[in-house]
Symmetry: C2
Subunit: 412 residues, 2 copies
């Protein structure tokens, strides 16, 4: 029993706001029906959110002869949220209003030599300053900035324990960033960001048990149970890319053999292509993106090699997704990240068939497999959502808990 | 958001009782500190449990000059619980008091030809009647009976959707049983029973994220997150035995190849032995139990073949447990069921080493691997706990929700 009354109240606050963002305007009665919470609880939570300026009253609706019911909606201008998606080669920053509409964007390319935390911090701080200026929002209305960093993240301490791309160990990222940025800061990884984005705005909304399969250069599986991200005991849940698909199979950069990632991550898919057709013109040995794009075009045009590579990749992916279906019995599996986006429908169709051949009948019948429906970058959206969740979690605390301040103080 | 206020209240009621069972007598303040619930919530829930007769007041303790604090304890005689463990070859029934002490047992052997639901129901009903008579408890104090059946269980409907041992399809077991047994009845599978037993009385008590690995003829992984069993969307979560360890590997009875179960279930371990030493005297081709016992004695005596079979089994098991560690990032992994019990410490040591070689550093460092510490049959204990949970879940409802009654009515 690690779940406190406070956790439950925060989770309920998320649930109420999530429902109203999904379906505004809404009456308290509708929110109660959709969330399963009591009307009294919903009324209290809506009251808090109105007081915080996150919701606004927008009139009344008739209730079949009863008293007219008050309607509330998200107060889009009631605050701004910043989402920062840091990847190996770029920093992508977006500023959102409270309806999660993008008001400004900033993109920074990261040169291959860029390995110092100070340089990274300066780039992130500049991009954050830029989106605030561009958007014209009052800096005082920014509720916070969420930062997604690839690697092992100590979320509560605000540091990067290990980032393989830059060979960082124990970098107190939020502490460094707090010297340049005065908003509350929240740190996590892209897998958790994508999953939270699906929970609030995507295919996981209103669903209880969901797995978000991230297919990029690396791969992972974000797990959402009972409508909440499962982080695990040290925030590292979701390392599905390093579960074994073929014992003693392909060598993985983690040091093991046969990891899922070596078959269905972008470099693994390149290898699937190379094994089938070593001289294929679709193969760009130093360019994952170009290779995956060539495969996508090829598969769309019916090129037999491209079709076969997609099918072989789906055979691996289908087995590994069947493992998730059998183990977790989820309602929805979402295929997300850039490889899934580019291979799209042909990959989805093959994966559905492969899972249908392999998963157990009962969990299979209960599971839907879909492509990520979020039209913008789910990582920056999810990162901004960390800031939204953070500000909701700090409601009722004397001062908002800003990881940045704490860390900044500790570093001095 | 499928979690209702009622669910949360029930979960809190479980948490409070679980804590008091673990550590009786206790003050409300101690329970609040241990569960993270507010003192007001604990006081309300303790009040309900006292009124139900599940707890009893047992005096006061000083509180450093403050007002003496009231102490409560489990009221062992406040009710009785029945746990039924049905396996391929036997029915094992235990009757417990509310401190979960065994007051009576009944064992029935199932003959190989015994395939009819009516026969099974008669055996279960006889065994239940027997433990009530033996124990001398007043039948009116029996809070319910939990039945663990191997197979796919429709828990809410009280039926067995599929039981491979007897080739049953859609058998309304609780409906049939309710014609003979007048207690509230609760149905689930052994994997879920073992996991609930660990949550209430074993290695998962007070831990948030736990995986209970069941090693028997079949294998599975019960998942407990935030102190609650994760059942999945159709109660079939945990089919880890049918996740892929070796793509295109050994043929499994589920129709796929390379499932974990084919390497670490009792028949899989027999195959590991046969592959290493086809003529080994430890191999009893038609007797799994005798073979596993021979391997256990052999390993204890340092027999090189037995040691090597345990090591090879642990290599498979270690890879498959690493998958759970990497994916779920649990605090504890418990090795349970009869194969783990018989191979015991030698298996545990080899598994720990194999997982240490394979799991990612961060989740590995946070995970403890232990043998099931429950000294009695965890399946019948867990089944009895279903009845305890069921009676706690029905607190405050007009009439206790008895799956048996509902089903019985529907069948007529």
């Amino acid at each position: 029993m690690k779940r406190t009354s406070r956790d439950i109240r925060t989770a309920n606050r998320y649930g109420v706001l999530r429902q109203i963002i999904a379906d505004s305007p809404a009456s308290r009665q509708e929110v109660a029906a959709a969330t399963g919470l009591s009307l009294a609880t919903v009324a209290t939570l809506v009251g808090e959110l109105l007081e915080l300026g996150l919701l606004t009253e927008v009139g009344f609706e008739d209730s079949d002869g009863g008293r007219p019911r008050g309607l509330v909606a998200v107060h889009a201008a009631g605050g701004a949220l910043i989402g920062v998606d840091v990847a190996e080669t770029y920093i992508h920053v977006e500023l959102f209003d409270l309806a999660l509409k993008v008001l400004a964007r900033a993109d920074t390319e990261l040169k291959p030599g860029m390995k110092q935390p100070d340089q990274m911090v300066a780039h992130i701080a500049d991009a954050i300053a830029s989106v605030v200026v561009q958007s014209g929002v009052e800096p005082g209305t920014v509720l916070g900035a969420g930062i997604s960093m690839p690697g092992q993240v100590d979320r509560e301490g605000g540091s990067l324990l290990y980032a393989p791309n830059w060979d960082w160990h124990d970098v107190p990222l939020l502490g460094l960033l707090a010297e340049h940025v005065d908003y509350p800061l929240y740190l996590d990884n892209p897998l958790h960001a994508c999953t939270v984005a699906e929970l609030w705005f995507g295919a996981a909304r209103g669903r209880s048990d969901v797995v978000v399969v991230n297919l990029g250069t690396g791969v992972g599986a974000g797990i959402a149970l009972n409508g909440e991200l499962h982080r695990g005991i040290t925030n590292s849940a979701g390392e599905w890319g390093h579960t074994t698909l073929v014992l003693d199979g392909r060598l993985c950069h983690c040091g093991n053999r046969g990891c899922v990632e070596t078959y269905v991550g972008a470099p693994g898919i390149m290898r699937n292509l190379r094994e089938l057709s070593p001289d294929s013109p679709m193969l760009h040995p130093d360019d994952q993106t170009a290779t995956i794009e060539a495969l996508a075009s090829g598969a769309a045009a019916g090129d037999p090699v491209a079709v076969e590579v997609v099918r072989e990749t789906a055979r691996y992916l289908g087995a590994a997704i069947s493992d998730l279906v059998n183990l977790l019995n989820p309602e929805v599996v979402v295929l997300s990240s850039w490889v899934a986006g580019k291979l799209g429908r042909p990959l989805l169709d093959e994966v559905r068939e492969a899972v249908a051949r392999r998963a157990l009948a009962r969990p299979l019948a209960a599971t839907e497999i879909v492509l990520c429906p979020i039209p913008t970058d789910p990582v920056s959206l999810g990162a901004a959502t960390f800031a939204l969740e953070g500000s909701l979690a700090s409601v009722g605390q004397k001062a908002p808990r800003t990881a940045s301040k704490t860390l900044g103080d500790r570093d001095r």
